[in-house]
């Protein structure tokens, strides 16, 4: 009798499991994100998670994603990669082996993204990533697409603008994080500064998680550079470093290609970051932004307490790119989706855009987005220039014909 009862319970349990997983697999697409949700870069990760969930909500409320005659809802699964490769590997294992996701839409950090990519490409999962390094792109990685502007896109227009408006700029000190993101950014930074006739007097490295910036600040100020370039440092580190160099009496040109929200940097650095040039900060309340971006930044202020920035909005754009890819391929197969992505024009928070960049990376895996050159003035961000990539302009014009 007891054995019969055990078998009955097991059978009912198995049936319930089959039923629920069956329904879930048919109706809900799980989408993963891998971003820092703790530490100095947490504002990026928390914001990315929030925008990805906003995209999921918009899709679900709009009727879901349609493919193969069925409609699917989406669900976002977010994990903390702590901006390092070791945690990125754990997140990769969790997403791809435990949660069995086929799509990752939104990652932050080159090292954790590369750790994830090594598994996602093997497992045949689609990776819409935010790696800043160029090493995640190319024909070797057919299932990987970058959904944020990266050094090759943003650094040339940013530095050109800075040099044009500061003709006396002759020397620069570069400080980069001692990881894949920092190293790949430094290569591009050094090359572009030198091409503009600016001498790199110091290129130094620091560990993410550094809490005492005084020794680094003393070293940089000792070189007496006209400008300090912080590469891809997160907002907390940027504010802390510029605060320390101000204590030492330095007041030159401040540049940070990955500088995002003025508020986050101001919280830490106060007026020490005033005048800083950025390339990943946009005024999403301003007239140049879209209705979606204005709505998202308003929501993010309420949810997270700060306005949205370009790193954070990537979560929304990645999920929307995935939706467009699935519907264009009319399939859930990541390989089929990856095959159609370079050919379609689709809606993101920025409006219509497409993947390109074949000339630079060897395959069209880079989302073509406006490049926003900004400057922090009196604690607020002002957009100085918004450059639309030539390739995008051509693609949109061709699509109109």
């Amino acid at each position: 009798m007891r054995s019969f009862r055990k078998i009955l319970v097991a059978a009912i349990g198995a049936l319930a499991l089959c039923t629920t997983t069956g329904v879930g697999a048919q109706e809900t697409l799980k989408i993963g994100t891998s971003a820092p949700l703790s530490g100095a870069a947490a504002p990026w990760g928390l914001g990315l998670e929030w925008t990805a969930k906003q995209a999921a909500q918009a899709i679900n409320e709009g009727g879901g994603i349609k493919a193969g005659g069925k409609t699917y809802k989406v669900e976002i699964l977010s994990y903390d990669n702590k901006y390092n490769a070791a945690e990125g590997t754990k997140v990769a294992q969790t997403l791809l082996n435990r949660d069995n996701v086929n799509y990752i839409a939104g990652t932050i950090g080159t090292a954790p993204t590369l750790a994830l990519q090594s598994l996602s490409e093997r497992k045949g999962a689609l990776l819409l990533n935010g790696a800043w390094g160029a090493s995640s792109k190319g024909p070797k990685f057919p299932l990987s697409y970058t959904v944020i502007n990266t050094p090759n896109e943003v650094i040339p227009p940013l530095y050109s603008y800075v040099k044009k408006h500061n003709p006396g700029l002759k020397t620069v000190a570069i400080l980069s994080a001692n990881d894949a993101t920092g190293k790949e950014t430094e290569l591009v930074s050094r090359k572009v500064w030198e091409s503009l006739g600016v001498k790199v007097v110091l290129s130094d490295w620091y560990e993410r998680g550094t809490t005492e910036f005084q020794p680094i600040a003393a070293k940089i100020v000792g070189q007496k550079p006209d400008a300090i370039d912080l590469g891809a440092a997160p907002p907390g580190d940027t504010g802390a470093l510029f605060k320390e160099v101000k204590v030492l009496g330095w007041s030159g040109i401040k540049v940070i290609p990955a500088g995002t929200s003025a508020e986050s940097m101001m919280k830490v650095g106060g007026d020490a970051i005033d005048g800083m040039y950025t390339a990943l900060a946009a005024d999403f309340d301003g007239p140049q932004s879209t209705d979606v971006q204005r709505r998202l930044t308003k929501g993010m202020r309420a949810a997270i307490g700060e306005p949205m920035n370009i790193v954070q909005v990537m979560g929304y754009d990645a999920v929307m790119a995935l939706k467009a890819g699935i519907e264009a391929a009319n399939s859930l197969d990541p390989k089929a989706i990856a095959a159609v992505l370079p050919n379609i024009i689709f809606e993101t928070s920025w409006g219509k855009t497409a993947f390109g960049g074949k000339d630079v990376y060897g395959s069209p895996q880079q989302l073509l987005l406006p490049i926003v050159v900004g400057q922090i003035k009196n604690g607020k961000l002002s957009e100085l220039e918004r450059v639309i990539p030539e390739e995008l302009t051509k693609r949109l014009a061709a699509a109109k014909k």
């Binding site: 820092p36 100095a40 504002p43 001692n178 005492e212 020794p215």
Partner: protein, 291 residues
């Protein structure tokens, strides 16, 4: 900027933080013979509570110095309550058990970090500056807040040394640290002294976290980075030795400051670990340890 003076000032201000942190770590080891890897979480909790309480108090109309003072006392109280709970329900059972306490404290550190991330989110926080201004000393520069932090660290270190040498409690702590069985035979109430020692160590971590909160970026993982440096300092100085913790802290601060300037911050960190290995090989009890 006179670079030599600046390097000296940098070394002093960094060592002030490490001294405050490592004093508690070494005291707990001395009394209980446990390396408390959850020590950084006491430090982090105090800083996080200040980061939450100060803006809230200012928001309801309290002047900034009053908000700081109230939040400071509240944070110390909350950390002491947590320390007492952890002592009674966990550490008390693993006294003088190096392996058991190692596993316990590492597990608690991970657990508390997870709880803090859930409670406070992982976002980095920054408190408003309490005292504005920079002081110039012989061509070097330091903020007024950091200078006050250095002076408080100096006071705490002096007070600790005096208390250990001159008070009944200090003598009991030393007796227990040297030979707890002999101390018990002399009538020293070991359990009570161990509890007090643990709570003083916890309080020192909370004081360090609360004092440092206005000058650093606060996140739930902030304790980990200070724990590593604090641990290196007490290993070099000698586990359980108060003067050793102070000397070890100053030494690693000098390496971080001078090594980071002339070489590379990463090389400076490597140098610290090399020195730890050399100390363990040549003098395993540390510079001031008595075994």
């Amino acid at each position: 900027m006179d670079i030599y003076v600046q390097l000296l000032i940098n070394s002093l201000q960094i060592s002030a933080v490490y001294v405050l942190f490592s004093l508690g770590l070494t005291l707990i080891f001395g009394v209980m013979r446990i390396v408390n890897f959850a020590h950084g979480e006491f430090f982090a909790l105090a800083a996080l509570l200040l980061a939450v309480a100060v803006p809230w108090l200012v928001g309801i109309g309290a002047p900034l110095p009053v908000a700081f003072a109230l939040a400071f006392l509240g944070a110390l109280g909350a950390v002491l309550v947590l320390g007492k709970l952890l002592y009674e329900f966990a550490f008390r059972r693993f006294q003088r058990d190096m392996i058991g306490s190692f596993v316990l404290s590492v597990g608690l550190a991970l657990l508390l970090q997870g709880v803090f991330i859930e409670m406070f989110t992982g976002a980095a926080r920054k408190l408003p500056t309490l005292i504005e201004g920079t002081v110039r000393i012989l061509g070097g520069a330091i903020t007024v807040q950091r200078l006050i932090l250095c002076l408080i660290a100096l006071l705490v270190a002096v007070a600790m040394c005096w208390a250990i040498v001159s008070t009944r409690l200090g003598k009991a702590l030393r007796a227990v640290a040297e030979d707890h069985e002999a101390a018990m035979l002399q009538g020293v109430p070991y359990r009570r002294i161990a509890r007090i020692g643990f709570l003083i160590g916890t309080l020192l971590a909370a004081v360090a976290g609360a004092l440092l909160a206005p000058v650093v970026v606060i996140s739930p993982v902030i304790g980990s980075s200070y724990l590593i440096k604090g641990f290196i300092a007490v290993v070099i100085g000698g586990l359980g030795s108060i003067p050793g913790a102070i000397i070890g802290s100053i030494l690693i601060a000098v390496i971080e400051s001078v090594g980071g300037y002339y070489f590379d911050p990463s090389l400076a960190t490597i140098a610290m670990f090399v020195i730890v290995m050399l100390v363990l090989l040549i003098r395993p009890t540390g510079l001031m340890g008595n075994g």
